[in-house]
């Protein structure tokens, strides 16, 4: 049996080259000047100071955070009821509903996002429906379109995560709670919701991360002028050709994502050691 462990070594070599080296290169480029190579390596914070001293970039960062946070909140608010309904549905319907929700995620994101471009256009279906109520407005190339595109693409992850944690829940806890005199609302607030929090947390991870770094959704639905941090990174690499600055920005973005994840985990721990403690 021991000889099988040799089977790991090729992959260790592979990940060292294909995963570790590229990550290291981002770090190296982020802390060096434009035009440098390995031979003339010179440590500098210049790329970072450039980012944080320019109001344009600060505003892009703020806008990206704003869009990502709104998207995440909407995914929780809209996704939680859906997950709850599915978790409480009949076994037969449950499988069907899960299939219905996962199916679109198997279809290319670009393809689905492109379709929204047509739907949201000034004389598109959505505006035609709105005009029946006299509410015709510009939808495409607005914050609304970008947030809608993100919620559309990422909400299935949230629903599935919450659903998993809801079905894992021990149903007898609810019976116990109602036997002890809790009403429906109390049952939900004190039993169901705290127990589903791990699902909400992993849902947040799966939504916030791609929302923060997305660049094709803002480009397609926000229009060419709409810039989020992902678009800045894209343009630094593919048009401006400043890899050092681009690496620094992606590092800043990765750090912000990590901090957000850390905060969400902290909130979860505090909740599970506080009121939730009774349940453990």
């Amino acid at each position: 049996m021991k000889q099988f462990k040799n089977m790991t070594y090729p992959y260790i070599l592979w990940i060292s080259i294909m995963i570790v080296v590229p990550m290291f290169m981002i770090l190296m480029y982020a802390f060096t000047k434009h035009g440098n190579d390995v031979a003339t390596f010179w440590f500098t914070f210049e790329n970072f100071t450039r980012f944080f001293s320019d109001i344009i970039f600060i505003n892009v960062l703020k806008q990206s955070l704003y869009i990502a946070i709104i998207t995440t909140i909407l995914c929780i608010l809209l996704g939680y009821p859906a997950a709850y309904i599915i978790a409480n549905a009949k076994e037969k319907n449950k499988v069907f509903l899960i299939l219905l929700i996962t199916f679109p995620t198997w279809i290319n994101m670009l393809v689905r996002t492109y379709a929204w471009m047509g739907i949201l256009q000034d004389n598109g279906i959505l505006n035609n429906i709105l005009s029946l109520f006299g509410l015709q407005t510009k939808l495409l190339h607005t914050d609304f379109a970008v947030i809608l595109g993100m919620v559309y693409n990422f909400i299935p992850f949230m629903i599935l995560q919450i659903h998993t944690s809801l079905t894992k829940m021990d149903k007898s806890l609810l019976e116990a709670a109602s036997d002890l005199g809790a009403d429906k609302l109390q049952c939900f607030l004190k039993v169901t919701f705290p127990l589903s929090l791990p699902g909400v947390i992993s849902g947040i991870t799966l939504v916030f991360l791609p929302a923060m770094s997305s660049f094709f959704i803002p480009k397609l639905l926000g229009g060419g002028q709409y810039v989020l941090i992902g678009n800045v990174i894209e343009s630094q690499f593919l048009t401006a050709g400043n890899w050092n600055f681009g690496s620094a920005i992606s590092l800043i973005m990765a750090i912000i994502i990590m901090i957000s994840m850390y905060i969400t985990k902290k909130i979860e721990i505090r909740n599970s050691t506080g009121k939730g403690k009774i349940l453990h």
């Binding site: 279809i107 393809v111 047509g118």
Partner: protein, 266 residues
């Protein structure tokens, strides 16, 4: 009260499902549109399908997408399975480190993985194109295979392989005849995830490809700047392919189960 609650949740789910399927239905309908418009349906026509089949860049992108997905799935399924088996026998420290690094492509924003690979390939002086695209796809597919095979290995009885070895099987035989058949469901689902990950990938592909080698996602992205209803035709074909594949994947096990059931009853 209870009745109204039920109706309420039904309406909610219905709205949700309309929201999920609106763009998909929209794409299919407008792929048959006779006019160029993306908002008004002018009548039924197959002209966009014709245009698509005559558009060499579109057909090429479909070809590249399928070839890359098949090759990446094949390589990553084999490599991922081998690694997962190796890891299950490795010591805890090595296993921990490998699993941490293995998680990086999954946990990192895709754009970060993409630019890392872009710089890496450029530093090596490799020409961007088919090879770099394939290597990148293998790189991000293997972690998913490992993640789906590992739980199956954990629930495996370690004595079985030992028993096979004691009874005179070579390690290779023990591997192929004892271990692999038992973890097959994990391997299959890993392969399926790898295939769809590769088939759908945009962000990483966008950064590592070049020299006119495009996949479907990149093509849609670059074409979306101008109105081009052929994209709807292309999208509809993708939707049909994925639907058929998913139906097969979901129906075949059910049919098999039924067959076995009737066997038992007979």
């Amino acid at each position: 009260m209870k009745q109204s609650k039920k109706i309420g949740s039904k309406i909610y789910m219905a709205i949700m499902i309309i929201f999920f399927y609106l763009p998909i239905i929209y794409t299919i309908i407008f792929s048959f549109n006779s006019s160029r418009s993306l908002t008004k349906f002018g009548g039924f026509s197959l002209q966009w399908y014709q245009k698509m089949f005559h558009d060499s860049t579109m057909m090429q992108s479909i070809f590249y997408t399928i070839v890359i997905a098949l090759l990446a799935t094949l390589v990553s399924t084999i490599a991922g399975t081998i690694t997962a088996i190796g890891l299950s026998k490795s010591n805890r420290i090595l296993k921990g480190i490998v699993e941490q690094i293995n998680d990086l492509p999954i946990m990192n924003p895709e754009i970060v993985t993409g630019i890392g690979l872009l710089m890496f390939f450029s530093a090596l002086g490799v020409k961007k194109g088919f090879m770099t695209l394939l290597l990148a796809h293998i790189m991000f597919c293997i972690p998913y295979v490992i993640l789906s095979v590992t739980p199956k290995l954990r629930s495996l009885d370690p004595n079985l392989a030992d028993a096979a070895l004691d009874l005179g099987a070579t390690p290779w035989q023990a591997l192929v005849k004892v271990i692999v058949p038992q973890i097959m469901p994990g391997i299959v689902s890993g392969a399926l995830i790898a295939f769809t990950m590769s088939f759908d990938d945009f962000i990483i592909s966008y950064f590592v490809t070049g020299n006119g080698v495009n996949n479907i996602s990149i093509l849609v992205y670059t074409m979306s700047k101008r109105i081009n209803p052929s994209i709807n035709a292309l999208s509809s074909i993708i939707i049909v392919i994925i639907t058929v594949v998913l139906l097969l994947v979901n129906i075949i096990p059910i049919l098999k189960q039924k067959k076995e059931k009737t066997k038992y009853e007979a």
